[in-house]
Amino acid sequence: MKTLFSRRSALLRLAGAVAGVLTVSVARTAKAAVQKLFVSTSAPNDYDPTKHKWLMCIDTTKCIGCGLCAEACKRENGVPEGPYYRTWIERYIIPKPEPGSDQTRGEPLVDSPNGGMHGFPEPPLPKDQIELSFFAPKLCNLCENPPCVQVCPTYCIGCAFCVQACPYGVRFLNPVTHTAEKCTLCYHRITRGLKPACVEICPAEARIFGDLKNLSADDPIQKFYENNRVQVLKPHLGTKPRVLYAGLDKGVS
């Protein structure tokens, strides 16, 4: 009777499997080497990440809601079309309290049409019913204690745990690569001595960017610290953000 698995065929299959594994291994090493070669030729190699500590400061009293930052970010970083933003602008409209109520203010209305990329339409309330209104640019808060990293199980497999864990909602899954994405402070620009695209393009100097490890004599971030009362978003979470805000209202989180 003919057996289904002879010793010879079993050994052959085993040898085939071993050869396959070895080929994959060699191919991976070769691919990594080629990638490294390609990358090192086009990227600046005199940049030492340990010699910098970047900081973003945002003055919401200066933001005019033009949306140039959101547009520039999307363009500069090749963020896919659609509701995906690494930085965006939120509009806060705080209505006057209902007449006769014991409240100091109404329930805040927050919107961000297209991330504010193409500006903001007329507010949904008549002007005389608005107590206070302002814009608040948002981006990755660059936490010293990042909740997104704590929940990350492995290299990115698109599980989106980090998207859920981020208390600031700055992460998203890229619809093309299916991996998680967020602001990198334009790493490809800052490693070349340029400012991040949003900072470069902001016409009102609402975004200030600097390096805590290389402060110059009259550094804009030093001035920002001295001239403003700064705060961070959701400080009670203990995430220690490295994005500082000036002129924030209590309604912003």
Partner: protein, 150 residues
């Protein structure tokens, strides 16, 4: 004394466990990117990959080389904080080859910032287009020197 013999079902269980754990370790070895964990809880090569992206926005200092006269004018008036590319658009290619104009699509026009909106801060000059003069903005407010002279 009788010699202890591992019951065959336990032996099978042990072998099965070893096979499962072993194949997990082998699969993990081949699936995890080689540079993972090089600097932290991420793929180390990702840094170099992001850094290899060519910047699109050239930056105001790149314009200085050829257009210092305009930048000088700009610095003297209300638009001094504006980046050139805020209005003229992405200019990386223009810097490398002046014959390629900046990308107008990403540029902006006056009303993007100056259209009246109650959410805008009071210090910003704002107009309601239909109540303002009917001419072209630049007739009275040349963008590089927007404050009218008379």
């Amino acid at each position: 004394m009788r010699r202890f013999k591992l019951p065959p079902q336990i032996l099978r269980l042990v072998l099965l466990t070893l096979a499962v754990v072993g194949s997990y370790l082998v699969a993990r070895h081949f699936l995890v990117p080689t540079s993972f964990g090089e600097y932290g809880w991420y793929r180390g090569d990702a840094l170099a990959l992001i850094a290899s992206r060519p910047p699109l926005y050239a930056g105001k200092q790149s314009c200085e080389k050829c257009h210092s006269d305009i930048l000088h004018k700009l610095a003297a008036d209300a638009h001094k904080t504006l980046s050139c590319e805020a209005c003229h658009g992405v200019s990386r290619e223009h810097i490398d080859n002046p014959n390629i104009p900046p990308d107008k699509i990403t540029g902006s026009y006056c009303i993007r910032c100056h259209e009246a909106n109650p959410s805008r801060p009071a210090w910003l000059k704002q107009i309601v287009i239909k109540d303002h003069y009917g001419a072209e903005c630049a007739d009275c407010h040349p963008p590089h020197q927007p404050t009218p002279t008379q």
